[in-house]
């Protein structure tokens, strides 16, 4: 089974709901090692993204709408990073009516590469890259083993959550948390957390859209 524009739209809706629910939690994480705005910024962005995703007849169009909304509404570091991620993902699947397993993997990889290109963070810098990179690797591995879209996204979500937890002991070297030096250790990165939420939401939606036989 594959994902079409409507299924993707429902997934974006679901992520907007999750971000709204987790808004204060994300703010709290950012309060500890940043400037206490990650949840608010992303929530503002995802509300706009939900509207922007309403039109668009292909997955690429939906993703592009989300990208534009995030770029123009989020601000901060997360706005351009997530915006670029969705924009690159859109480009990666341009022309497709539905997303098959290989498309999903290509979109995830493009998203991650976009974030790295913009933000220049490396693995271990305590950023969202620490959730994205293991997620993409897990998705690729699952796809090589012939997994379904839902299985691929579940593997990505599991890896992202592990990556998110792995940020806790790290000393930040990029973004606002890096100003804290050693004091950033012991706190989970907010961007890695919102990334894990995104991938978990996509996995859950995929499982719901394409129930295992």
């Amino acid at each position: 089974m594959a994902i079409d524009a409507d299924a993707l739209r429902r997934a974006i809706d679901a992520y907007a709901d999750v971000v709204a629910e987790q808004r204060d939690y994300l703010v709290d994480l950012d309060r500890a090692i940043g400037d206490a705005d990650h949840g608010v910024n992303l929530d503002r962005g995802m509300r706009a993204a939900r509207e922007a995703a309403a039109s668009g007849s292909t997955p690429a169009e939906v993703l592009k709408g989300v990208a534009t909304a995030l770029i123009s509404k989020v601000g901060g570091a997360a706005g351009p990073l997530y915006g670029t991620a969705f924009l690159r993902a859109a480009t990666a699947v341009t022309g497709k009516q539905t997303l098959e397993a290989t498309d999903v993997v290509a979109a995830l990889r493009a998203a991650r590469d976009g974030i790295v290109a913009r933000g220049k963070a490396e693995l271990g810098d305590k950023t969202m890259v620490d959730a994205w990179t293991p997620a993409v690797e897990a998705a690729e591995q699952a796809a090589q083993q012939g997994a379904t879209v839902a299985q691929i996204l579940a593997a990505a979500a599991d890896a992202a959550e592990q990556g998110m937890r792995d940020t806790i002991p790290m000393v930040a070297r990029k973004g606002r948390a890096s100003y804290l030096g050693e004091r950033s250790a012991g706190h989970q990165d907010p961007g890695a957390t919102s990334t894990a939420f995104l991938l978990r939401t996509l996995a859950d939606r995929a499982a719901a859209e394409c129930p295992a036989p």
């Binding site: 400037d35 705005d37 901060g76 706005g79 933000g119 070297r173 100003y179």
Partner: protein
């Protein structure tokens, strides 16, 4: 949380509305996307100096829009860099044919959003140059961080480069001057209390009744060190020593000394600190030729201060002295 506001979600726009009403002779405020431009258009053929950043640092940046300083400012949400569409709209509004200079404080968000805006402007044929400001010596290992933050030096750079643009310097010269001033300016800040971000409603960090935070930024980020509160003499030394060591400033240097309040510290304390700082420099043979004391780049209602020291030369002095007429800085007009 105690603030004179209606709704945490609309603080920035509500405040901009009052700012627009209070300074209608000097500025024009546009909403959605939000940006502030001069009431009088730039003389054709002059470089438009544009800055912006998260709100909560007032009067920065909107308070510095006007003759002899900024052409436009882009206020983001509280402590959140503005979005590319704001910056782009401001850019197109103020471009007077000689290009646009972005003065960007070095935060990942600001840098990325201004970068995107510059791409949008380039796509429409507007020449844009960007200079990133990073004067905060509190951030030590630039290699292992997002780099030094842009703090108090921003005010001085906006004033000096604004004066150069006003006298007709071209885009390359303005950008080069901005880089030169940035290379000659160093800052460091401290806090006695945290600020409260409106939509969060609680202090960003918790400080004990006898604690202070040294090396803070301007976004309520905690600093690098938490210490027992000390006397003003010690606090000033803790800020000035790393500043002097870093450039380094040396005997005989002529400087501009800027003692800046974080928003909740009253003038009585800022002047007290200024006096100590000037004596501290005098004892080391460093001459203070120009000065600025007050709340110019703030962190909401945070109590605390930052000290900024700029090494001057004749050109910088004359550009600093040049007329300026903005809501927050005014002289010679």
């Amino acid at each position: 949380m105690k603030k004179i506001i209606n709704n945490p979600e609309t603080v920035v726009q509500d405040s901009l509305r009052g700012f627009a009403a209070a300074h209608a002779d000097l500025v024009e405020v546009h909403f959605d996307p939000d940006y502030v431009v001069r009431a009088q258009p730039l003389p054709p053929g002059t470089v438009a100096v544009v800055s912006g950043g998260g709100s909560g640092h007032e009067p920065l940046h909107a308070g510095f829009v006007g003759t002899g300083m900024l052409a436009a400012a882009c206020p983001g949400a509280v402590f959140t860099s503005p979005t590319p569409d704001q910056i782009h709209a401001a850019t197109m509004a103020v471009n007077a044919g000689a290009g646009v200079l972005y003065l960007v404080k070095n935060y990942t968000g600001d840098v990325l959003n201004f970068e995107t805006a510059a791409e949008l402007a380039a796509a429409e044929g507007v020449e844009v140059a960007s200079v990133v400001i990073d004067d905060d010596v509190a951030v030590q290992d630039s290699l292992y961080t997002a780099g030094r933050r842009g703090v108090g030096g921003t005010v001085l750079i906006e004033k000096i480069v604004g004066a150069a643009a006003e006298r007709g310097d071209d885009l390359a010269a303005c950008a080069e001057l901005a880089r030169r001033v940035n290379s000659q300016v160093r800052s460091m800040g401290m806090a006695l209390t945290s600020c409260v971000v409106p939509h969060v409603g609680r202090p960003t960090f918790e400080l004990g009744d006898d604690e202070m935070e040294i090396g803070i930024g301007i976004h309520g980020e905690p600093g690098r060190e938490r210490l027992p509160v000390e006397a003003a003499d010690q606090i000033v030394a803790r800020l000035l020593e790393p500043i002097l060591a870093d450039l380094p400033f040396t005997e005989g240097d002529r400087t501009l000394l800027f003692v800046n309040g974080m928003g909740g510290t009253p003038l009585i304390e800022l002047y007290l600190a200024y006096g100590i700082a000037e004596r501290f420099l005098a004892e080391r043979g460093i001459q203070v030729h120009r000065r600025l004391v007050g709340n110019y780049i703030t962190s909401l209602e945070m109590q605390g201060m930052s000290i900024t020291l700029l090494r001057l030369d004749d050109e910088l002095i004359s550009l600093w002295d040049a007329p300026v007429h903005t809501p927050a800085l005014r002289w010679g007009v």
